[in-house]
């Protein structure tokens, strides 16, 4: 029945020959069955040869060659399966034979060429089972060779999954020379030729700083504040802090912010060498290359401390200072300084003594951890 395109072609052939071979009677049967469509793409072939021969040394060959080719050209393929199943079985029933060879070679290849970059899953499974059974005491050679390779061109999400599993078993009951060698060799070669896209934003910012060639600019409060789009730093005030009007003489007051003032201690102006300390929480680190990196969070505390020494206080003032210090120890008090500025804070060194330098002359020193505040009468 000749193949017709588009139709299912079924071919069966049954040949049976009864005739003389080498002068003796030989019975040969051959059965061939071909099932496949008429376009020649997919073909299933079964061949069964059975030879019935008399007691004679003859050579019998049984060669089966199959080719399964599946070519699919399409824009998009959802599921593509190409299975090739082969079973080769050689059974010889005879009183005597010299040599038996059963060679089973299988080569399977799955090659996918994508026109577009589409993520697909490729699965290529090659399963081989080989078994050689013999009851007589002869040499047995059972060799199973597997070779598996994976080649890919795109490699983005992890490495390709390549699994090569070996299972070899030799079971003998009576043998003279026993040898069982299981050799593994697996080689994974990465040939990566990938193009990585690297992006880097180019940020352009601007800033402006200027300087006025003004007379006595190194004496006055004259910061030249330009402009910058750096949000990390707030520029200093452009104007000098003004003393509060009508704030009065230097004194300690309590409470610092609430009114009315319930306790007050009038002092003289402090002596020279008073200190104004600015202490910051700041992290200084040095890199391996020797670069100094300094960091400070804007929320971290900034401590300002005034160290003041008052000399020439009377005994009454000195005693009043100790009473004031005792009554408001650890509480926030206010300080009107000698420049007419107002501070609120705490006195942090109550242990410093009040010293009686001479008759009716006392000296008081305290550290005032303070922050600038607004005076409210």
């Amino acid at each position: 029945m000749p193949p017709t395109p588009g139709n299912l072609c079924v071919t069966r052939q049954y040949v049976e020959v009864l005739g003389p071979g080498d002068g003796k009677v030989r019975v040969t049967r051959q059965y061939v069955e071909v099932l496949g469509p008429g376009d020649g793409k997919v073909r299933v072939t079964r061949q069964y040869v059975e030879v019935l021969a008399p007691y004679a040394a003859v050579a019998v060959d049984d060669e089966l060659t199959l080719t399964d080719e599946f070519t699919f050209n399409m824009v998009r393929v959802v599921n593509l399966t190409d299975d090739l199943g082969l079973v080769e079985d050689m059974v010889v029933c005879g009183p005597q034979y010299v040599e038996m060879r059963s060679s089973f070679q299988l080569e399977e290849q799955l090659d996918v060429q994508l026109l577009r970059v589409i993520q697909v899953d490729l699965e290529d499974t090659l399963a081989l089972t080989q078994h050689l059974g013999k009851t007589w005491e002869v040499d047995i050679h059972d060799t199973l060779t597997l070779s598996q390779g994976v080649t890919t061109r795109r490699w983005e999400d992890g490495i390709p999954d390549e699994v090569l599993t070996f299972s070899e078993e030799l079971t003998v009951s009576l043998v003279r020379n026993r040898a069982h060698v299981l050799t593994f060799e697996e080689t994974l070669v990465y040939n990566l030729d990938a193009v990585r896209v690297v992006t880097q934003d180019l940020s352009l910012r601007q800033s402006l700083v200027y300087e006025l060639d003004a007379r006595r600019s190194t004496q006055r409060y004259t910061p030249f504040i330009g402009s910058s789009d750096d949000p990390a730093f707030t520029p200093p005030s452009a104007t000098c802090p003004m003393p509060a009007a009508g704030i009065g003489e230097c004194r300690l007051v309590y409470p610092a912010t609430a009114r009315p003032i319930t306790d007050s201690l009038v002092l003289r102006n402090p002596e020279f060498d008073n200190k104004d300390r600015l202490q910051f929480n700041r992290i200084n680190r040095e890199t391996r290359g020797g670069t100094l990196v300094v960091f400070a969070d804007s929320d971290w505390p900034k401590m300002q401390t005034l160290v003041l020494t008052f000399h020439g206080l009377t005994q009454t003032q000195a005693d009043a200072y100790l009473v004031f210090l005792s009554d408001h120890l650890g509480q926030e008090v206010g300080l009107v300084d000698w420049e007419g500025r107002y501070w609120k804070g705490i006195i942090v060194n109550p242990t410093d003594p009040v010293v009686n330098d001479s008759r009716e002359v006392y000296t008081v020193t305290f550290e005032f951890e303070a922050e600038s505040a607004t005076w409210e009468p």
Binding site: P223, F233, D276
Partner: protein
């Protein structure tokens, strides 16, 4: 003239200071560790800071300028600073003082408005930076 500019590199504020007092100092922060082998051979291990210098200046400022420098410290104590020193050299680095301590040493008339009294303040600035 002594110039402090900050924050580097996007400079925003410039403060002019008078030249510092004598006894200004400049040093290397590099370190040398010396080891001796059992046979007397001397080995030295050097840790360099690759061009970074430690500098210290002392300034005497009018009270007004002291207030300006105080505000500058409050704003840029952790920022990178560009310093143009009294020799015209330009340095990029950071203040390393902690604390910054202004000491009012003496009178210095006249008072400049709005400060009520003319006073002179002394401040030490410690700085580590790289010359440009």
């Amino acid at each position: 003239m002594f110039r402090l500019e900050a924050p580097y590199p996007r400079l925003q504020t410039l403060t002019l200071l008078p030249n510092p007092q004598f006894s200004d100092a400049e040093a290397l922060p590099d370190t040398v560790t010396r080891k001796y082998a059992m046979d007397g051979t001397r080995y030295t291990y050097v840790k360099r800071r690759w061009g970074r210098h430690k500098l210290k200046w002392t300034f005497k400022l009018m009270r007004n300028k002291g207030l300006e420098l105080r505000a500058f410290f409050l704003a840029y104590f952790a920022a990178r600073i560009r310093v143009t020193d009294h020799r015209g050299r330009v340095w990029i680095g950071n203040f390393t003082n902690n604390p910054f301590e202004f000491s009012t040493a003496q009178r210095a008339a006249p008072a400049i408005t709005p400060v009520l009294r003319g006073e002179l303040q002394t401040i030490d600035i410690e700085f580590e930076g790289v010359a440009q």
